[in-house]
Symmetry: C2
Subunit: 177 residues, 2 copies
């Protein structure tokens, strides 16, 4: 290995790294991970329905939760197709939860709207697929680490229901970077 202690080198590296980090953070605009805008809308709509305890029209939900109306139509339709909500057509129609809010988990909604929760295809139970560039799955170091991430995420998402979200006002300690 060539020398790590180039005179001044480490300090210079540190300064450069800091600058690059600042640039990156300053322009970090997108958070496309784990949960999409669409899933966020879906969860908010379900929370609204749970809180109302009654059926609501698309327009009502859209207005209350500030969700683009036509986009919400698609979302609710999808939730209906997957048996989360039911609908009634025609005048005075609307949407209502098909199951008690306590039985609708965040995980279920996320899987419907955003697809599998697992960070890698080789870690999904419901949509397992071997990674294209994987040689020996059992020896994959990356897989081993992300298996733990996936498990802990699933622990939270599959144990938390819409009812929990409506009820519990426990404080948030602003967390991960």
């Amino acid at each position: 290995m060539f020398c790590l202690n180039v005179r001044g080198g480490t300090l210079l590296q540190g300064a450069k790294a800091a600058i690059y980090s600042i640039i990156q953070i300053e322009f970090a605009e997108r958070f496309p991970k784990v949960i999409s805008q669409k899933a966020k809308y879906a969860l908010r709509a379900l929370v609204a329905l749970a809180r109302a305890g009654d059926s609501m029209m698309i327009g009502e939900i859209a207005e209350a939760e500030r969700i683009p109306r036509k986009f919400l139509e698609q979302i609710l339709l999808e939730l209906k197709h997957h048996g989360i909500v039911m609908s009634k057509r025609g005048k005075f129609g609307g949407y209502a939860l098909l199951a008690p809010a306590a039985q609708i988990t965040f995980g279920a909604v996320l899987r419907i709207i955003d697809g599998p929760i697992a960070p890698l295809p080789c870690l999904s139970r419901i949509a397992y697929r071997r990674c294209a560039d994987c040689r020996a799955e059992e020896e994959c170091e990356i897989r081993r680490v992300f298996a733990r991430v996936a498990t802990s995420a699933r622990d939270v998402l599959d144990r938390t229901s819409i009812a929990d979200a409506v009820a519990a006002p426990e404080p948030v300690e602003a967390g991960a970077a």
Copy 2:
């Protein structure tokens, strides 16, 4: 609320939901979440460097880990800019870890390559941003739940180093959906 127990309705809903689910799972092709292909390459390259314990040329790493060579160039450059690796140019040049493998965490690498780990901008410490459509952050149910997801993910990623990945062959129980 209109009647939930339409005769036959629930069963039909169940069947439809099952069909929609099967379609969705069968065609689930992409796992763009938590970790990108690029970050996977970055981690694999670092693992290769750690295992070698010596400097390696881009070509060597690319071949050993089956990473597109020119793509790997960009990745290593980025890691260098952020102070993870150092490089030497010219004939017999190459890359080497700048810090011991035990000090390079998965979290650090992911933040460099993929950006903030937090699932929502309002949960990031390093790149906090208020959600565009958020009314009262403290009352946001979604935020509350995903704060827990983010914390647990960070717990794993910031405590696991490249050295851990190289060393520990603990078994994986195929986990989250």
